[in-house]
Subunit: 468 residues, 2 copies
């Protein structure tokens, strides 16, 4: 059972090395249902383990040999062992979130072996507050980070009493269809996962390939200062070579607080998220005496409507572009930073809408696969980085969701740091909270967890500045 690997997936596999594992991750926190027994987590693990359906791509591993003429193909794992992929783990004492983040960082820093299907899921007990954590790790050759999170969401339900729900890797088109009627209100949510499993369901969208001509266009755009695509980004400590070691930090804040800041200052929720990151990165770099004089630039993926992109149809309306946003880290005042970010985003979106369809398609590919381009562009060889870090903000479900009665109370994405881009911030909203996931190289970005404190300080500072 051999099937072809599409060019994008192959590129992710080939771009991978020990310093740059190419997998995305997700951390979910669940509250046990009422009346859960002492062995609840084991039972949850066993239920997932014993599920019979597994999506085809989760049963295949990449293979290349003389028999395939050196081409990379997907091959069925004839020794597939669910207990290798799904693991029941526990946290050491005292079982704080800190121990959980340490474990996630460690798990995220280890490459998936090509000899087995490229995913892992860990059901984790031992949080002293009684919550259950789930860390999942999926190779970017299978899904991108956002799709991976949506894949997990797609098996959740708004009904706390529903049972018999499959694990994310058990999400098959048939079970999806069966699940739909009950969850009609969440239709927007469940749309994406099918696209996520690119090859599994035979969907190798043209847009997933990255033709050489487009790459050249994009490359030129990023290197050319006169282009609307590019801004002057200073060289920072984030823009160095990285190792394979990872740290992960995660926390969430009430969206209500962030919206109030936006409302009072005439900015968007996304502007406020970027301002939080800006202030936190500024404080972090100041502490390390490493703040550049000019502002850092973030690459911010943004949604494009079909009219803007003209190519969105291939992606079912989910086309994504990218804006280069000046973060205003050179400004001391939180309010000034927020205002600067707002202007930069407005400018950037305007530039994007004046691009040719070809340029937008190139940007769309960039947004869809932010981690793959820099290796292709040999970012390390560029003296001046085109941007300093990637900050993504992806809307998630607004209502409370459950998995077989366990209430999802938080979710945080783990992304892919790469050479020259050692820190990645990805946010996702869920049930009234904005969850931040910060993934960094442990060597290049020391004391990553300090950014959480700085983020929290920045929310307070922005509230004060906006007068809320």
């Amino acid at each position: 059972m051999v099937s072809p690997i599409d060019p994008t997936s192959a590129a992710f596999l080939l771009a991978e090395n020990r310093s740059q594992p190419m997998h995305v991750g997700g951390l979910q926190l669940f509250e046990k249902p009422e009346g859960a027994g002492r062995n609840y987590v084991r039972e949850m693990y066993e239920e997932m383990r014993d599920g019979k359906d597994i999506a085809p791509l989760f049963l295949k591993h990449p293979h290349r040999s003389l028999g395939t003429a050196g081409r990379l193909v997907w091959e069925n794992d004839t020794q597939f062992d669910i207990e290798h992929h799904l693991r029941h783990s526990a946290l050491p004492r005292p079982g704080r979130v800190r121990e959980l983040l340490e474990l996630c960082g460690r798990l995220h820093g280890t490459r998936l072996a090509w000899e087995r299907p490229l995913w892992e899921a860990h059901v984790i007990e031992g949080l002293r507050d009684g919550r259950v954590a789930m860390y999942t790790k999926t190779h970017h050759a299978l899904v991108d980070g956002i799709s991976a999170m949506r894949l997990i969401q797609s098996v959740l339900s708004t009904d706390p009493d529903r049972r018999g729900m499959p694990a994310p890797w058990g999400f098959l088109p048939s079970s999806a269809k069966a699940a739909k009627p009950a969850d009609k209100a969440e239709h927007d949510l469940a749309q994406v996962p099918i696209h996520a499993l690119r090859t599994a369901f035979g969907i190798t969208a043209e847009a997933a390939g990255l033709p050489a001509a487009l790459l050249r266009t994009l490359n030129k755009g990023l290197r050319n200062e006169t282009s609307a695509l590019s801004l002057y980004a200073p060289r920072t400590m984030f823009n160095h070579s990285i190792t394979g070691s990872r740290r992960f930090a995660a926390q969430d804040w009430p969206i209500e607080r962030l919206r109030a800041i936006g409302k009072a200052s005439g900015t968007t929720l996304n502007d406020v998220v970027l301002a939080m990151c800006s202030g936190a990165v500024r404080a972090y770099l100041l502490e390390l005496a490493a703040l550049p004089e000019t502002s850092l630039v973030a690459m911010v993926p943004v949604g494009l409507n079909a009219k803007q992109s003209q190519v969105a149809s291939a992606e079912g309306g989910n086309a994504v572009g990218a804006v280069m946003c000046k973060l205003g880290t050179d400004l001391a005042d939180p309010g000034d930073r927020l205002a600067a970010i707002h202007l930069s985003m407005v400018d950037g979106k305007r530039a994007l809408s004046s691009m040719t369809p070809m340029q937008i398609l190139a940007m769309s590919a960039l947004g869809q696969a932010p981690a793959i381009l820099p290796p292709l562009l040999r970012m390390q060889g560029i003296v001046r980085p085109p941007y300093n870090l990637i900050i993504s903000n992806v809307p998630g479900p607004r209502t409370t969701h459950y998995w077989n009665g366990a209430k999802l109370v938080g979710q945080y994405p783990l992304s892919i740091p790469i050479n020259g881009m050692a820190l990645n911030i990805t946010c996702t909203s869920y049930d009234g909270k904005m969850g931040f996931g910060l993934t960094g190289c442990r060597r290049t970005v020391p004391h990553l967890q300090r950014l959480l404190t700085h983020l929290d300080d920045e929310v307070n500072a922005l509230e004060k500045a906006a007068g809320v």
Copy 2:
């Protein structure tokens, strides 16, 4: 910093594949010292993590490239990250030995990636009896199984009050020398580890290489029924292809009980260990309706004195030969099985002493590296296996040992199942107990843990048969 890989180590690296990871493991159980605080295990972990000395071989990884002309070499890991190799883990509830063995089986079933130094150590908390476990995993290219256990023993002390002791991978010749005076009585113990770290200390013993001529001799001997080396071994369920999934079972029994059986029956301690294995394997195969009519044959490594082997000097007196032992699994009576094993071992040792030095050297290589030969011999292609399983019994320290005040209360080896040899039993004595470690392919040897019950039943049956 590139250094050559000796031929034996290279052979272990090249024989490895997804079904046959070539690492050995050890499980140690410690009791916390009196007055240990709630964070004792974390402190233990941190002490190990922060140790400054690391033996050179534990900092290198195998490397092969155009630059090395395709040869395998050891190369320094320029991104060495102790937190990747030393991990602080916890058991899920209820924290029984069962959960510990599950974790060990899972850890033992995952290959070490060549891109990093080939070892891992896990400090494990969460056993409900309060003990602390340590699982270590080292590639056979670095040490063999026995040496790996002795390496760990070498950093232990008989003095419960001693502190500042290094971790096993911090065992350097200099620290060894510094440690010696206090532990003179344990000199016999500490002899081996230096040999264990073959390349690290520049000791590439001639005996470690496996010249092709010797291999041919040995190959012929094992295939030739007329040779004293070989017996008729029936084909069993253990002698099939394996997968990479592992199960591990471990338990210990008081040596006093086993000695009493030997004394009453005129047999040796080793005979009794073999009889326990024989009875247990018989009961296990009977349950599965898979017991062959003729007796199973075990390959049993035995110590050789210098005079016998004539080549022992290169190995510092630790030369090892191998006896093919008829286990008497065709006999229903436990006493009959013990008697048959005793005779078979006496015969086997006699055959061994009548061998030519050349043959003994070949056997010595076999004993030293039991896992490497079958792949070289292409055992899978042999219709009739030369033996059915490997049972090793290696004497360990007789007195209580400590690591920085933590009392070692049990240790159990994890070995290497290979294609055609799906079950391995390795025993080691320590402080009045005989610890059994059973490592098997989870698919080929289902319900491996049942063998523990059968082993226990067999001790009782042998006591009854011997009248003790």
